[in-house]
């Protein structure tokens, strides 16, 4: 099992956002997590990446090891990657320099040789094709003045260069027009492999037309309330999230598992 989450709870400022979440992800699988705003999807992504602002309890095993005790940088070195919903601008740092520094720092910590400038450039150029980015991106500052679509493509580029084992994509489709969505999705699809697991967090079913998931989970009020195959996403598209929110708010969990 690549990722095993048991009874995960996370709160911030005394407010509980994740309220006993369970999830299993195997290598090679693509899982979609869907849910209404405020259901805790992004909190789950942040907690898995190591955000320290949450009080976290429960268990998260990544390749059998306790992920929750690892620092964010350690998780990255172990192969966990988060594509941010809102990638952060880093003024004064060039994009190419940033990605190279990240790759080389990881390689160093993994006991691998660092890539020199030429080798890195060759690698970056190849991976940039995946997300149809041109070289001008690399000379700009990290996410500085990037459009919404450009920041998301830049996230997928980083994923392509850093080659994680477990990638969590947090609302990578939000703010994208249909062309950008297609580019991002084809980049992600190119990175699907038997060794790699993807957790795709999205509000809309639209993205899943392009990135077809093995499993779909519905999140509401800090828990996964229903799981199914790709057809569940279509069902949600038709009926919306209202049923699930009412169910959990009322404490009726009979649906959970019954339909999966």
């Amino acid at each position: 099992m690549m990722l095993q989450i048991r009874n995960l709870r996370a709160s911030v400022g005394g407010k509980e956002i994740l309220r006993g979440l369970d999830l299993d992800v195997r290598a090679g699988e693509v899982h979609a997590i869907m849910g209404p705003n405020g259901s805790g999807k992004s909190t789950l992504a942040q907690v898995l990446a190591g955000r320290e602002t949450y009080d976290v309890t429960g268990e998260v095993l990544y390749e059998g090891r306790n992920l929750l005790v690892m620092s964010p940088e350690q998780r990255a070195v172990e192969g966990v990657f988060l594509a941010f919903q809102y990638p952060v601008e880093i003024p004064g740092v060039g994009n190419l320099y940033f990605i190279r520094t990240a790759l080389n720092m990881m390689r160093k910590q993994r006991g691998l040789e660092e890539l020199d400038a030429m080798d890195f450039l060759a690698l970056a150029k190849e991976r940039m094709k995946l997300v149809e980015m041109d070289q001008s991106f690399m000379n700009r500052t990290v996410n500085g003045g990037f459009s919404g679509g450009e920041t998301k493509r830049n996230e997928i580029l980083q994923m392509a260069v850093l080659e994680p084992k477990l990638a969590i994509l947090d609302e990578t489709d939000s703010g994208l027009d249909i062309d950008a969505l297609r580019i991002v999705a084809s980049g992600v699809n190119a990175l699907r492999s038997k060794e790699r697991a993807l957790v795709v967090i999205t509000h809309y079913q639209r993205l899943l037309n392009y990135i077809v998931p093995d499993r779909v989970h519905v999140m509401a009020n800090g828990r996964i309330v229903r799981s199914g195959d790709k057809h569940l996403a279509l069902e949600l598209e038709k009926n919306g999230y209202a049923d699930f929110e009412q169910d959990t708010a009322g404490g009726a969990f009979s649906l959970v598992g019954a339909m999966s």
Binding site: A49, G50, R51, E52, S71, P72, E73, R75, A76, V77, F81, L82, F84, P87, V88, E89, I90, P91, G92, V93, Y97, F98, I99, R100, T101, A102, L103, N104, M105, M106, Q109, Q158, L162
Partner: protein, 456 residues
């Protein structure tokens, strides 16, 4: 007993700095032109009468000099410094490839200096030699009457300075290689060894249409207590262009008080970059007088105090003539319990129409105990002017730190990377390549993780 001597005895804590004068006066007696002796005495009288600045002086509100006045400084005298090899100077000040004038404890050291590669007619020598050769012609320049703003340290420099750099560029001459002025303090080489004070006085005269780059480096050899009290004057005649750099990298136990005084005539261009890294307490003041129309001036500054350091950066840009442009950008990075001060005054005199001025001060606090006082001040007394100023104080963006960490960059390295990016803007403005790489190294060493995130 003369009135001067009485004053000296009266000010007990100020004795050390003032007493040096009587020794200097008797030593110089008969060696210097009469005007210089009179000028020194007038300057000393001013110090003795006015006393040193206190917290009641607005310009010294945050920078208290009591710590300096408490030290029993001995005036430095010319002496050889056996610890200074050429390689050691490269290490301390960088090798910029051009002429290098080295001063030890304020006195010219011919054996450490190299004066090759200078175009015909360019004069680069010690002020002491210049005074000996053509003292009378320097009277007008060196004995300018003191303005109201002159404080005791500047006056003390006038009273006590015996040496410094003298640079004179003839009309329409371009000096390609930077002229490097290196001021090293080595209290161990002083006799008797102990806390020394040096008063280097430098003069840069850029003739009409000339171009030159001047780099001043101030550094110490060991963590010993000393005081550098420097005054550098730059005069740009019509159409001259001077690029000036100052790297203050004194030792962590040193005191550094300095004035860079600039006067610009018509259509001149002056740029200065100040990099303040060293000293327990330092105050580097820059005053620029835009005296001729069409003059352009740029003041850049970077100060990075850490631990208990206190770095003060007062600047005054005085727009006297119309149609002058001034640009000012100072950035501070403050760590530990350090204190920084930016005091930026811009004066637009009546008649200085079409003045175009902008000033910005940005500060990054790396610790909760670090503090900065930023005081931009505009005094606009003319119409039809364009003046903008701004000041910010912030911390590292924790969202950005987290973002970098999720990419495998360790926390300290992530913080270094972001700090270096903040500083990078200032380093990129350094156009002398070997100086830039020298400063980059000094800066990286001061980052919390020693620049691990930076070297790539």
């Amino acid at each position: 007993m003369s009135s001067l001597a009485k004053l000296v005895v009266a000010g007990t804590t100020e004795n050390a700095l003032l007493q040096g004068f009587s020794r200097l006066e008797s030593r110089r007696n008969g060696h210097d032109p009469v005007w210089l002796n009179a000028f020194r005495r007038a300057a000393f009288q001013r110090v003795a009468e006015r006393g040193f600045p206190t917290a009641r002086d607005e310009a010294w509100k945050y920078t208290h000099v009591g710590r300096i006045l408490d030290v029993a400084f001995e005036p430095a005298e010319a002496s050889a410094s056996p610890r200074l090899s050429s390689a050691a100077i490269d290490q301390l000040a960088g090798d910029l490839g051009g002429a290098r004038l080295v001063f030890v404890n304020g006195y010219f050291s011919p054996q450490c200096s190299s004066l090759n590669k200078l175009p015909q007619g360019v004069k680069v020598e010690s002020l002491a030699s210049a005074l000996a050769e053509e003292g009378e012609s320097l009277e007008a320049l060196l004995s300018r009457p003191f303005g109201e703003q002159t404080h005791a340290f500047t006056a003390l420099n006038a009273a006590c300075a015996e040496d410094g750099a003298f640079v004179q560029i003839p009309a329409n001459t371009v000096v390609e290689e930077p002229i490097h002025l290196v001021f090293l303090s080595d209290p161990g080489a002083a006799f008797p060894a102990g806390p020394v004070v040096s008063h280097p006085r430098s003069l840069v005269l850029a003739g009409p249409g000339s171009q030159v780059t001047i780099v001043e480096t101030y550094a110490g050899i060991q963590d010993e207590v000393y005081l550098t009290n420097a005054v550098t004057e730059v005069v740009l005649e019509e159409g001259a262009a001077v690029e000036h750099y100052k790297v203050q990298n004194e030792t962590a136990t040193a005191f550094h008080i300095a004035l860079l005084d600039v006067r610009q005539e018509r259509d001149t261009q002056f740029t200065t970059h100040s990099v303040a890294l060293g000293s327990l307490l330092a105050r580097h003041e820059v005053t620029v007088r835009l005296h001729g129309p069409g003059a352009k001036t740029t003041l850049n500054g970077l100060y990075m105090p850490q631990n208990e350091q206190h770095l003060d950066n007062p600047t005054t840009i005085d727009h006297v003539a119309p149609e002058c442009t001034s640009r000012e950008l100072y950035k501070g990075v403050l760590d530990g319990r350090a204190r920084g001060v930016f005091d930026g005054r811009i004066i637009v005199r009546p008649g200085a129409m079409k003045t175009d001025s902008s000033q910005s001060n940005k500060n990054l606090l790396l610790s909760e105990s670090a503090r900065v006082n930023s005081r931009p001040q505009l005094e606009i007394l003319a119409d039809d002017v364009k003046c903008a100023h701004g000041s910010t104080v912030g911390q590292l963006n924790e969202e950005a730190v987290f973002y970098l960490r999720t990419r495998g960059i360790p926390q300290l390295a992530a913080r270094d990377l972001l700090t270096n990016a903040f500083v990078g803007e200032m380093l990129e403005l350094i156009r002398v390549r070997p100086l830039r790489s020298h400063v980059e190294k000094l800066v990286a060493l001061r980052l919390p993780a020693g620049g691990v995130g930076v070297a790539a």
